[in-house]
């Protein structure tokens, strides 16, 4: 078989591509674009860690001081919280902070609820 340059180039360019093994695309997509997200987000991990730390702290107090120290601590926390939340100034600052957060959310178009539901829908459809 003798070929000139043009024929040879045409033959090379016309060669069919290798057939990839089955499931290659799916495995690539699962490792990249559609990689399942972590079980917990950073925020959830922080919340869980904080709850764990509080539970541990309360547990240690129960062991060290018995029921009375535990009740006393809870009373102190409760009274501090109620005193803080009954202060009009604190409530005003909280309201201002909340309103600013909502306003910024609208401004930046960030919609956490929509984003989460979109991700769940896609995971479910796969």
């Amino acid at each position: 078989m003798t070929m000139d340059d043009r024929e040879l180039e045409r033959a090379i360019l016309g060669l069919p591509l290798e057939e990839p093994p089955q499931g290659l695309r799916a495995s690539i997509l699962l490792a990249t674009a559609y990689r399942p997200g972590p079980a917990f987000s950073v925020g959830e991990l922080v919340a869980l860690g904080s709850l764990g730390a509080v539970a541990l702290w309360l547990g240690i107090m129960l062991v060290l001081g018995g029921g009375s120290l535990f009740v006393h601590t809870l009373q102190t926390i409760g009274s501090t919280l109620s005193r803080t939340l009954s202060n009009a100034g604190v409530l005003a600052w909280l309201a201002a902070g909340g309103a600013t957060a909502i306003w910024l959310t609208l401004f930046s178009g960030w919609q956490p609820v929509a984003a989460v539901s979109h991700r769940s829908e896609r995971s479910a459809s796969r």
Binding site: L8, A11, L17, P21, L29, A33
Partner: protein
């Protein structure tokens, strides 16, 4: 007179897809995978000659591309970028293979010519493929990239990290050897 319809590109360009993927749209990267997985696998298989290794190298290339999508230069070609990543992944595997086997890598792929009658019976594409496989590695890779990218010598040079003149020389010599192999003549290393 009726107005000419406005032509809207139904197929987004690779660069646009990268930009969309960078904004967090996973489907955009999925389209890029669909466009190039076969070509990348082809390059990996022709370089490594092993289905499993080619599969792993293809996966590795896309994984690296996904993780370093931000380093993709806007305006450059995605195909060149992903081929370069895949080619480097293949080179790493070839080097590892060389290290573990303790032997020098063969300069030529195993041609396994078999009986002459069998070779004659092969169709043209199969014969050409066997001839490409029989080329020394440096020529084989250039021919494979020529197959994937056409006459875009600059892109081939970018993927291989070689000067364009070297790519053209390699391709010229590869074609010479291919012609000789296909005509059944003895081939000597150039």
């Amino acid at each position: 007179m009726a107005e000419a319809p406005v032509r809207v590109s139904a197929q987004p360009q690779d660069g646009d897809l990268v930009a969309i993927a960078l904004r967090g749209n996973s489907d955009a990267f999925a389209i890029l995978v669909e466009r190039y997985d076969r070509a990348v696998y082809h390059l990996a298989y022709r370089t490594l000659h092993d289905v499993e290794e080619a599969r792993d190298a293809t996966q590795e290339a896309f994984f690296k591309a996904f993780r370093s999508l931000r380093t993709f230069k806007p305006g450059s070609k995605f195909s060149t970028w992903i081929f370069a990543i895949a080619y480097h992944a293949c080179c790493d595997r070839l080097n590892r293979r060389k290290r573990f086997s303790g032997d020098e890598l063969p300069d030529r792929a195993d041609v396994s010519p078999g009986p002459e009658q069998q070779v004659i019976a092969l169709d043209e594409a199969t014969r050409l493929r066997a001839a490409i496989d029989a080329l020394p590695e440096k020529y084989r890779t250039v021919v494979t990239l020529f197959h994937l990218q056409g006459r875009q010598y600059e892109e081939i040079a970018t993927v291989l990290g070689l000067p364009m003149g070297t790519v053209k020389t390699h391709l010229f010599r590869a074609k010479e050897q291919l012609r000789r192999l296909l005509s059944g003549a003895e081939v000597t290393e150039l």
